[in-house]
């Protein structure tokens, strides 16, 4: 039992070491802009633009639900214009980044893990190295950069969508006027609400794409291994995303 525990500990430390190596290699690839520059835009399209419908769809319904739940909670002494406050704050600080991150962890992280895992098990990565392409520059850096840059973009639009649908729900379903909703929305707004959510989403994007790349490039065992890597990438991404969410809240919101 002690030996098993020791092995697991060693494996965990090795994983951290591999992660360090991976990040170090990625850092070394950063100056190779000629390689990853053009590819990054492609990945931005795939990671960002193509993920917009999913993120906006989730945000739209989240805004409606937030407005309704807020009105349900605020019956009694709390004025109803706090619906605007709750919708705005929650979308900007928490639900916008986290829900979009979770959705994209499934879509983007799984996609990357599967794509890179397939390349790995079919030895396309080895072929790139044989052709003197740095897999980090060619595969990882564009994806991680695209995720890091496009996640805030997606989250910003998702926040806007969530607040807009929350406002519409308040207007139509809660008999709340636009002025009251905007009053609540502006009531406790701080610029920190905006940059906190966007910064957090950037770290989410970086984490999700990084996990997808690491897990994908570590794939072993053919198609079955690709499946395992895909699942693992989604799970790891989701768990790390929530841990990171708590971490940033602890660090930045105290």
């Amino acid at each position: 039992m002690i030996a098993q525990l020791g092995r697991r500990t060693v494996d965990a430390v090795k994983a951290v070491g591999r992660f360090g190596h991976f990040v170090s290699d990625m850092g070394r690839a950063l100056p190779d802009v000629a390689t990853w520059g053009g590819l990054t835009v492609v990945q931005m399209r795939r990671v960002g633009v193509d993920s917009l419908p999913v993120a906006l769809f989730i945000a739209a319904f989240t805004g409606v639900v937030l407005a309704l739940q807020a009105s349900y909670t605020f019956t009694g002494t709390v004025p109803l214009y706090f619906v605007g406050t709750l919708v705005g704050k929650t979308m900007m600080l928490e639900l916008g980044p986290v829900l979009a991150g979770l959705a994209l962890a499934g879509r983007v992280g799984a996609s990357m893990a599967a794509e890179l895992g397939t390349m790995k098990v079919t030895e396309q990565v080895d072929a790139l190295e044989t052709l003197a392409y740095d897999p980090q520059s060619f595969l990882v850096v564009p994806r991680v950069l695209a995720g890091t840059l496009m996640f805030p973009v997606i989250v910003a639009l998702a926040i806007l969508t969530g607040i807009a649908t929350g406002w519409l729900a308040s207007l139509v379903l809660l008999d709340l006027s636009t002025q009251e909703f905007l009053k609540g929305l502006k009531l406790f707004y701080r610029f920190k609400d905006t940059w906190f959510g966007l910064f957090k989403s950037a770290t989410f994007g970086c984490t999700i794409t990084l996990v997808g790349c690491i897990v994908g490039l570590a794939t072993r065992g053919g198609a079955e291994g690709v499946g395992r890597s895909t699942t693992r990438a989604v799970v790891y991404s989701a768990v790390l995303l929530l841990v990171l969410d708590a971490f940033w809240a602890l660090v930045l919101l105290r």
């Binding site: 492609v42 399209r45 496009m150 973009v153 639009l157 701080r190 966007l198």
Partner: protein, 335 residues
């Protein structure tokens, strides 16, 4: 790399950037392109006032709190950014206070002329003003939390008093109180009954008074009529005639009285004669009582009385016979 990708990515990024910038500026109430003046206010404490909170002048938002920092002398300085076109009061002061029950705070610009009514605020402003430095004096009102804490302490005290009252009011006290209330209820019932009865009496008294009042009114009317008649009689001389008749009657009475007086004097004068008559009568009566004399004998002797009576009967018979047969005793002839 396709240009399609670049365009799509560019559009999304620009849209997101615009959303973030415009949204942040709009939500924070920033006034772009307008010159804003920054003034510094000095407080002992700013309470819950924070950066970005509104600055309000007569209820209108005219700026925001730009920065808050600790300052020497146990002061706190807050930079207030005031929108262009807004003229602060001539002698400005800043009151940091809770703007609602839900934790919102605002810095309210007021004028120190006239000074605020609250003595604590006035003292705080005076103290901050005395520190000099050209900074606006500031004071902080207690926030809702402090007020609710105070209310909580008061509520605790009330609860303690209530507990003591509850202790004092044990079951026996409650029973006594219940009995007292029941007695009081009975007294009230009696009082109500008495009141009702007295109300009837008072009603009848009132009715009598009303009747009496009616009678008095009638009497007054009669008196008024009488007085009217008296007045008219006086006017027509009838009263004078009556008075004259009364005077004559009085004179006649006076004359009759004089005659009676004279008569009494005459009787007084004949008193001796009367005495003599009475003495004689007494003598006669004595003789009759002694059965002396004719009357005495007549009174005492029944035979004589009977004979006399018989004589009288015979005399009546004779008279009756004479009346019936006058020719038997009387004979009249002319020739």
């Amino acid at each position: 790399m396709k240009r399609e990708n670049e365009f799509a990515v560019g559009v999304v990024v620009i849209a997101a950037f615009a959303v973030v910038v415009a949204g942040a500026l709009w939500l924070s109430g920033a006034h772009l392109g307008k010159t804003e003046a920054v003034y510094t206010a000095r407080f002992r404490t700013v309470g819950g006032l924070g950066v970005g909170d509104p600055v309000v002048l007569r209820g209108v938002r005219v700026g925001r709190v730009e920065a808050i920092r600790l300052a020497p002398g146990n002061w706190v300085e807050a930079d207030l950014k005031i929108y262009s076109g807004v003229t602060p009061p001539a002698t400005p002061a800043v009151i940091a206070a809770s703007a609602s029950l839900f934790g919102e705070w605002a810095a309210t610009l007021i004028s120190r002329d006239p000074p605020p009514a609250d003595p604590n605020v006035r003292q705080a402003l005076t103290e901050a003003q005395a520190a000099g430095g050209g900074k606006w004096p500031g004071a902080t009102l207690p926030d809702i939390g402090q007020l609710t804490a105070q209310a909580s302490r008061i509520a605790t005290d009330i609860a303690a008093v209530a507990n003591r009252v509850q202790t004092a009011f044990d079951s026996e006290a409650v029973n006594e109180l219940r009995r007292s209330i029941r007695d009081f209820g009975q007294i009230a019932d009696r009082l109500a009954r008495v009141t009702n009865e007295q109300a009837d009496v008072i009603g009848s008294v009132g009715s009598n008074l009303r009747q009496g009042s009616d009678v008095l009114a009638k009497a007054a009317t009669s008196l008024q009529g009488t007085l009217g008649r008296v007045d008219s009689a006086t006017n027509q001389g009838q009263l004078a005639t009556i008075l004259n008749n009364s005077a004559a009657t009085s004179a006649n009475l006076r004359s009759a009285s004089q005659d009676f007086h004279d008569l009494m004097e005459s009787a007084h004068k004949n008193q001796e004669s009367v005495v003599r008559v009475l003495v004689a009568a007494d003598s006669v009566m004595s003789r009759i009582a002694n059965r002396s004399g004719t009357l005495g004998l007549l009174v005492s002797d029944s035979t004589l009385y009977k004979e006399t009576t018989l004589t009288m009967i015979q005399l009546r018979q004779l008279l009756s016979d004479i009346q019936a047969n006058p020719r038997k005793y009387f004979t009249f002839s002319v020739f």
